[in-house]
Every structure is written in C-alpha cells, then in structure tokens.
C-alpha cells in the first residue's frame, strides 16, 4: 500500500469534469428525484459517473510486443492520474461501473469478471448471475477481498466512493478509476480496460470499429438541418438538461442536433427553456415520462416542439454509458432526430 | 492575615471601592455591613483574588493574593459561594466533598483524611439528614447550609461568607451565627462575613466594618460603628429599627 499515492486530475479533466452529473445529485433533494438518482447511479440509465473515461493516456510501460500474448506487468495511468500497476493477467476482476461490466464482456474478458456493481439496466445478460458487491449505498470491501479480486475497475467523480478506492488500494488491490466526458475519453476508457485485463487487442479492435461507426453515422447527418433540441434528463421537480461540453452534448451534436445546453449544474430554468423555444424535445427520462405528460405541463404548451408534437423518448442508458454500446446511443439519437436518414 | 491597602476596584466600569484599606488579623471575627451597592461583595471578591484592583494591593498571609496560585489561596481562604444552579443531579454529600478540592490528590481524588473532613463538616453544620438527597431538590435554606458545610470542609484558616443567612428562618439564622462564632472561638478560624442584618452583625461580631459608596466609613466595635446618627446618614432609616445588644 502506498500512502503517498497522489491523485492528479488528468490533463483532460480541466475542471469542468468535476461538475458532471450535478443535476442528478441535486435530485436527492426531492424523493422522486432520489429514485432517479438511485436509478441513475446504480444503473445504466444514468450511469452518471461511470462515465469511464480514460484519460487518453493509457500507457503500457511494458514493451509493446506484437505477439498475441499480452505483456504483464502493465502500468496504467487512470483518469484521476493515478498510476496503477497490474502485475499479472487478472483472473478475478471486479467491475464497479456498468460500463466496465459491458466492456469486459464485449472484449472477451467476461469469464474473468468475479463480481459487479448493481445495475438497474443490466447488460449483457451473461453478467446477470454475477455477485453484486456495490450499490448506490456503498462498496462491500469485505466481499471484494474475499473474492480475491486482482483488478477493480471503479467510476470516477465520486461514483465509486473515493474512500472505498483508497481502502482497496491500501489492501494492495489495483484499482483503475475511469470516467468519460467525451467520445474520445469513452474509447480511451475501453482501451484502458482492455490493457488492464490483458485484452488490449480485442479492446483496440472494438474501439477502432466504434470510431469508424461514429464517423460513418456522423457523416450521415452532417448536411441535415440541425433542429434546436432540448434533451430532458429529468423534470420531476427542477429541470435538468445537458451541460455544455459533456458527453451528452457531444453525442447530440454528432447526431445532428443543436442542443440547448446549460452549465455544470445540469439545471436550466423554465424561463430560459421557453425563451430558447426548442423544436425537438428528447426524453432521456422516457422510462417514466411520456410526450403527453410533457404537453400537459403548465407553461410548456407554447414551446415549438410541444406545438409540433416533436417529443421523442430515447434510451438514456445507451447515451450515458461510456461502454461498447455508445454507438447504439448515437444511432438512437439519429433515429429520433432524423427519421428520414437510412441507418 | 488579610491586608488591604489603598484598593480602588471597578465593578462594571464603575468604581465600587475607593482607596479602601483595612487589616483583619488572624483569629478575628469581622462583619462587613453597608447599604446595597456599598461595595461589600466587591470587597470580598478583591480579597479572594477574583477581582484585580485597579490600584492598591491585597495580601493574604503576608503574600500578595494576585501572585498566589489559586490552589494556595483556596487552602488559605474558603468562601461560601452564592447558590448555583447545579447542571446535574448532585447529592448533598457530593457537594460537601467539593470543599476538599484544594486538598485532595489532583488525579486520584479524596484520601481518607479528606473523607474524614467531609464527614466532620457534615456533622458540624448539621446536614447529615440530607446526605443522599439531590441538592437541587432542597429548599433554599437547606442549600445554604450545605454550601456552608462545603466551605467548612475546605478547612481554611479564613472563612468568608457573603450573606450566609438570607434564605434562613430565624432559628437557622441564629444557628448559623452560633456555628460561625464557634468556628472562630473554638477552631481559631478567621471569619469575614457580609451581613445585611445589622442586628445579627452587632450581636455576633465584635468588629464591624461599615462601607458606604465604596469607602470605609467606620471600623470598630458595633456600638461605635452603629451610632444612631451614622445609621441615619448611611442607611437613611430611623435608628430605632436597629436593636443593639446592650
């Protein structure tokens, strides 16, 4: 254990990263919103923090050989800037973010996952039977120790409590903390998981394919009109939408939208929303809010999207979980925004 | 024993004592009298070292009281405190035992000698029947006796009392005065008491010090201090209200 381990913010983090997901957390203040937070944080949908994002700097110190045998030990700089050494190919991996669970299964390391975080929108089905060692309430360190975990992948920005990360590290268990606030960071996170789990090549193949698909999809809508779009994260009490510069924001732009963004608080006032007058409303909270609900809200009836009936639910999980299905998220956004485009 | 030289002291930024000088020798029994606001309690506080005079000095046993450690002062001079509100349930015995604070072992607490002193004080003040009771449930008069027992247990050569009889009925007033007299004559304890009741003062104290507006205006035997014209002048009442022992 290294008591002097230092956590630097990654270069890319640049302050605004810390503001991520503020809206959801504030939701704690109302009971319904609390449920949302639970949903969000433990699950897919909101996977707030599990935004895995690797700092783009996942660096193997071991000489990269071309042989298929992955070279261990590897040293990885995680998204908090912590240098983490993984001594040998991990056999009992604990995934503390839904995105990492998906990634590990997608790159063929699923059989070595020993336990996972609670996931309210579980994926893939193969992971269903895994023991759950973390919930929104906290991380069961004892279980992780007793499973003899040799690699833990945790979420940054407080998704995994920092105290739990510190404790696991003090017990000599390598912990990689990931979060993503852009597509690049999401892909770097997948590469980092690949490197740490000994599936670097599979991860690299996955991210290359994902990048190609991102480029292809983005090209499809490049010349389409860009509707002014309000993406609703939650409007149970306060109204929450996407912060400028977030992963949400980037995906919406890639999908050919002109998103109404807010600051790192995630909150936007109804006045601003009405003044902006969006042409399209996307319901990230479509699981419990219907277009009819939105139309029935007092003072929303004059908004262009409501008048025109352009209110569409989208699968929030796909958009916010920086795992292998992020391309599906972009696809879902394009399908909602530009139904005329052939995917 | 007690020596006050040219003391001027403030109470709430107002001169409560002006150029007060007095001496009380070992074994004396002295009552301080005077109208409200004369500076009696301030004088006691100055003598006990709780209030630092603006000018002048106070000596206790030949040493300046402001240079003595509080524990040393407490072993030389015991004060019957004003009635406090106790924050926790506290038995009478526990209150009396507080009088041994200046003598007990600082960490381990009371030694056998301390326990004996507590028992003796309880016996002497006559509060044995109250022992196990919560001091907060006692009448004002009973509490006053308990606090007197505490000061007696402190076993200091000087005992200072501030209005020790205000809450007592006549019989208890007399009993307390007799006890004070007994402590003085039998044990040699120097007594310094602030009294409102001029009759009790004159009856039980061979020497009175009369304060008025912060100054000592008379010091001597009762008959001399409580001259009718002085009573009229200082207290503003008909001297007939004050009955003196012939």
């Amino acid at each position: 254990m290294n008591p002097f381990a230092s956590f630097r913010m990654p270069r890319t983090a640049s302050g605004r990263k810390r503001g991520r997901n503020r809206g959801r957390s504030l939701g704690l203040l109302s009971p319904l919103a609390l449920l949302l937070v639970l949903a969000a944080c433990t699950g897919a949908a909101a996977t707030p923090a599990p935004t895995i994002t690797p700092t783009p700097t996942a660096v193997a110190t071991a000489a990269p050989t071309a042989t298929p045998a992955p070279a261990f030990p590897v040293t990885i700089t995680d998204d908090e800037g912590t240098t983490v050494a993984v001594a040998a190919e991990p056999q009992r991996i604990v995934s503390l973010t839904p995105a990492a669970t998906e990634t590990l299964f997608a790159i063929g390391a699923g059989d070595r996952v020993a336990a996972k975080v609670e996931d309210i929108s579980p994926f893939p089905p193969e992971a269903d039977g895994l023991p759950v060692v973390a919930t929104y309430q906290g991380v069961d360190i004892e279980q992780i120790v007793s499973l003899k975990a040799d690699l833990v992948i945790a979420g940054g920005l407080g998704f995994t409590p920092p105290a739990a990360v510190a404790q696991l590290r003090s017990l000599g268990i390598p912990v990689i903390v990931l979060y993503a606030e852009s597509v690049d960071e999401a892909l770097a996170g997948i590469d980092a998981v690949g490197l740490a789990s000994g599936r670097a090549e599979a991860a690299s193949a996955l991210t290359t394919a994902m990048r190609t698909e991102f480029d292809r999809l983005a090209a499809l809508v490049q010349s389409s009109p860009r509707p002014l779009t309000f993406y609703e994260i939650d409007a149970t009490s306060e109204i929450y939408t996407v912060p400028a510069g977030s992963l949400y924001d980037e995906l919406l732009r890639l999908a050919g939208a002109d998103p109404i963004t807010t600051d790192a608080s995630y909150q936007i006032s109804l006045e601003k929303l009405i003044t902006a007058n969006p042409a399209v409303i996307l319901l990230g909270d479509g699981g419990y809010t219907t277009p009819a609900d939105v139309a029935a809200r007092p003072n929303w009836s004059g908004i262009k999207a409501v008048v025109d009936g352009n209110i569409f639910p989208v699968n929030d999980t796909l958009i916010t979980r920086p795992g292998p299905r992020l391309v599906d998220g972009l696809r879902a956004l394009i399908a909602a925004l530009h139904p005329e485009v052939q995917l | 024993m007690i020596r006050v030289d040219d003391v001027t002291a403030l109470y709430r930024d107002r001169a409560a004592l002006r150029d007060v000088s007095l001496r009380v020798d070992s074994g004396e029994r002295v009552a301080i009298i005077g109208p409200n606001g004369a500076g009696k309690s301030t004088l006691l506080r100055v003598i006990a070292g709780l209030l630092r005079p603006v000018t002048g000095t106070v000596e206790l046993g030949g040493e300046r009281v402001d240079r003595l450690d509080r524990m040393v002062v407490a072993r030389r001079l015991a004060v019957v405190p004003q009635l406090p509100v106790l924050p926790f349930a506290t038995t009478v015995e526990e209150v009396v035992a507080l009088g041994r604070l200046p003598h007990e072992h600082p960490v381990r607490g009371m030694r056998p000698a301390d326990r004996a002193a507590v028992a003796a004080a309880i016996e002497r003040v006559g509060v044995g029947h109250l022992l196990g009771r919560d001091a907060r449930e006692l009448s004002l008069g009973e509490r006053q006796l308990v606090l007197l027992a505490m000061a007696v247990a402190q076993a200091a050569p000087v005992l200072v009392l501030d209005e020790p009889t205000v809450h007592l009925d006549l019989r208890h007033q007399v009993e307390v005065m007799e006890l004070v007299e007994d402590l003085n004559t039998r044990d040699g304890t120097t007594i310094l008491a602030v009294l409102h009741d001029l009759g009790l003062a004159a009856h039980f104290f061979p020497r009175l010090i009369l304060l008025d507006r912060g100054r000592v205006v008379a010091d001597g035997p009762p008959a001399e201090v409580l001259a009718p014209e002085r009573i009229r002048e200082v207290f503003g009442v008909d001297p007939a209200f004050v009955r003196l022992r012939p």
């Binding site: 991520r20 920092p162 | 001079l77 106790l86 924050p87 009088g99 604070l101």
Partner: protein, 334 residues
Amino acid sequence: MVAASGLLLLAIALVAGIAAGSVAIAPTDTLGILARRVLGLELAPTWTVAAETIVMDLRLPRVLTAMVVGGGLAVAGAAFQGLLRNPLADPYVLGTASGAALGAAIAVLIPVRALILQFGLLHALAFIGALGAVFVVYRLSRVGSSAPMTSLLLTGYAVSSLLAAGLAMAMYLSGTGLRQIFAYLLGGFEAATWGRLAVAAPLILVAGLVILLRARSLNGMLLGEEAAAHLGIDVRRERALLLTMASLATAAAVAISGLIGFVGLVAPHVVRLLVGPNARLVLPLAALLGASLMVGADLLARLLGEIPVGVVTAVVGAPFFLALLRRAHSGYEL
C-alpha cells in the same frame, strides 16, 4: 464494579464487532487470526489469506476506530457538559460539527486529489474547520461578557447557524460531490484503515487523557465558575485547556468518521445516572461506554447493510435517551 462492567461491555463489543461482517468467517477462525497476529501465537492457519486480510486490515482497524472515536466523543461531551454547565451540551455544541461539515464540503468542491498519510483534503479541511469554528466561537464570546459560558453557548449557536448556511451553499454547488458530502455528514467507519487510525488515535487519546487528568477542574466547575475559583481552580486557564482538548478530540474524531451524533451526549448522562457527577468517575466510564456504544452502533449499521452509523446512533439513541429520562424522573433530571 461499574468499571468492570464497562470493560466487559467493551470487550464484548470488540469481539462482536470483529466477528460480524458481510463475509461470514467462522468465530474460531476469527479468534485464530487474532491469536496469531495480535498475540503472536504459533497457530497453523485453517483460514484463507482473504479471511486474514478481512479480519486484520478491515474489521480490526474499523472496530478500533469506532472505539477511539466513541470514547473520544463521550469524553469530549462530558467535558463540554461540565464546562458549559449545560446537560444538553454535546461535543458539537461550539460549532465543531458545522465547521467540520463546511470544511469537508469545501474540500469536495476543490478539484485537487491528494492523499497524505491516507488522509485526503476532506479530512484535513474537516479537522481544520472543526477547530477553526471553536476558535472563532471562543474569540467572539470573550468580547465584554460577564457570563462567559452562556455567551459561549449562544455564540456557538450563532456561528453554527452561519456555518450551516455555508454548508447548504456548498452542497448546492457541489454537483457530483453531493453524495460524498452527504456520506460524510452521516458518518461512518467503513473507510477505516490502520494508517488513518494511527494518525487520529494519538490525538484523541492524548486529548482524552489530558481531560481525564483535569477531572478536578471539571468537578470544581459544578458549582459555577466563581465557586470553582474559590475552590482553587484557575478558571480561565482550565477552561481554555479543557475547551482546547475537548475540541481537539472532537475535531480528530469528526475528521476520520464524519458527524455521528448522540454518543457524545448520551454516554456521559448514562454514566452520571449510575455513579453521580464526579468527573473522576464520569470521564473514564463515559469513555468505556461511548466506545462500546459506537462499536455496537457500527456493528448494527453493518448488519443492516452498511447504513450510516449516524442514523443508527440517532434512531437507537433518541428513544433510549427519552426512556432514560422518563424512568429516572425522580432521581435524575436535566
């Protein structure tokens, strides 16, 4: 007699605290691990390495931290009650809690992540905030006051309110950090490590010991400051010393475990009910009781699925306290 019961209670709490957890470890293995690692007996391990790590590096530091924090808060609570002569005083009465909370919240807002001796910015600012709040309260209360203890209490109340407003603002601004602040406010021992215990425990133990050795001063204050002075207590010096030590113990406790209420308030009262107000008895026994209660509360919190310890102490403590007051109405009132 009472002391022996207290020690027994603490021993039971210790064993139970180490024996229970989310992973089942046979009691014999638990004892075996402790015998081998703590007592140094040459036993052939019948247990896994993981079990040994869980007992030695997770549960033992956790239980010991709970003990030290519980004992420290109980002693600090007894000291504050005695000094302020107020039975409703607890270790947080002079702003320690709100100061620590604000410090922790500010730490969450600062985008710097550094660990020194396993302590993050949150712990450091919580500690500084707690001490800073008491210092400010103490200084403000001394301005021309004839009733210093009342003034201290009221100033503590005012400063706490102000800090609480700051905390609300910090929470509002905290974004993702809100959960972290919330977890801190509720308190807990799940993050306990040997390293943290090694830093906090000496502070709490030394401060507690100093208070224990000044029991005489606390006894003197029973009759008020003026009477204490007549009984030989240097009131200003003792008050400053005791306030400092009690605040130090509280700040260290709060920095490692967050805000855990009731133990510091209840433990001294229970002990006074049993042995009276003599601080020489109250302080050490309250330490034993506070330590046992805290380990018990933490155990309960763990068995209920890692709910916050602060919730357990409040949910168990409040009704218990009320029952105590009703039952003891004749002999003991606040």
